[in-house]
Subunit: 155 residues, 2 copies
Amino acid sequence: MKISYKGDYAIKALVLLSTKYDPNNVDSYCQLSEISKTQDIPLKFLEQILLILRNAGYIRSRRGANGGYALAKAPATITLGEIIRLTDGSTAPIACVSKSCYQYCNFEKKCVLKPIWEEVREKISDVIDNITFFDLSMKQKVIDETVQNKEMYFI
Amino acid sequence: MKISYKGDYAIKALVLLSTKYDPNNVDSYCQLSEISKTQDIPLKFLEQILLILRNAGYIRSRRGANGGYALAKAPATITLGEIIRLTDGSTAPIACVSKSCYQYCNFEKKCVLKPIWEEVREKISDVIDNITFFDLSMKQKVIDETVQNKEMYFI
DNA sequence: TACTTTGTCTATCAACATAGTAGACAATAT
DNA sequence: ATATTGTCTACTATGTTGATAGACAAAGTA
């Protein structure tokens, strides 16, 4: 599994939206330009990525003044793994052991490698499918507070 | 970590050479054409891959009639991980957590993702760095015998 | 010696993926 | 009306992958 810039950017955008997630305030949107600036993501590239996330139902958007993007579902219901698969495709090391993009291979039944690739696939899934954007947003908030405190010492 | 055809072919060639490894018979070489046919690898592509393996010291070769390739070291001393890194580069999910191809990232010190990518990297290494071509060749021999026995039942 | 067999090395190439950029358009708020 | 903000499609530069081609070098054999 390699994380592309597209995937990395998608995750960072979702982490930001997760820290701002508030089901009681449905009219709060985070703008493209803000995400682009704070996460250091090329604006027009980010635009395309947010479109993918919106079309997949993870975020919703509003046009016009005071428009922007917001999470469409609770952060705890979105796993890191599903976002990676959405933006970067299969997380398996090779197509013959992929659940999402399986491709048949002639060697399959007498292959010494297949069980190994399956093990790698499972180990990766164990990590990324058990982390939600709620987990990430909580950790991000802690980091943000720590950085803010450190900066205050300099005043 | 994605295994490319190049990596897959390199591993399959080395598994074959490992099953034929015999330190007592230094004059036994396995020919390019045989590896190509039995492993279903395009001959000219395989040639380039074997060149990489030879230049890295994993195999040795002999030209001319009865020439070919043979392992240059004991299968037990070659891990799956080092061959993957040789042919496909870093096995880390992202450059900022790669040991072999590390690249600095501005976010590093306040990144919620880095520890996760490190965990993924470690889980992958746990698998591929603890498997040697001796292990693979032993399993391959068992498979070959089983397949042969099955075929004999049809006679 | 001449010839066949086998590996060596470098160049080239088509197809695809990645990481963007550009610009016309649509909706919303004031 | 107008400014603001997201939408959508097209395009492009660059690199990687998975090969293919062909001239060359060495080793064995008649």
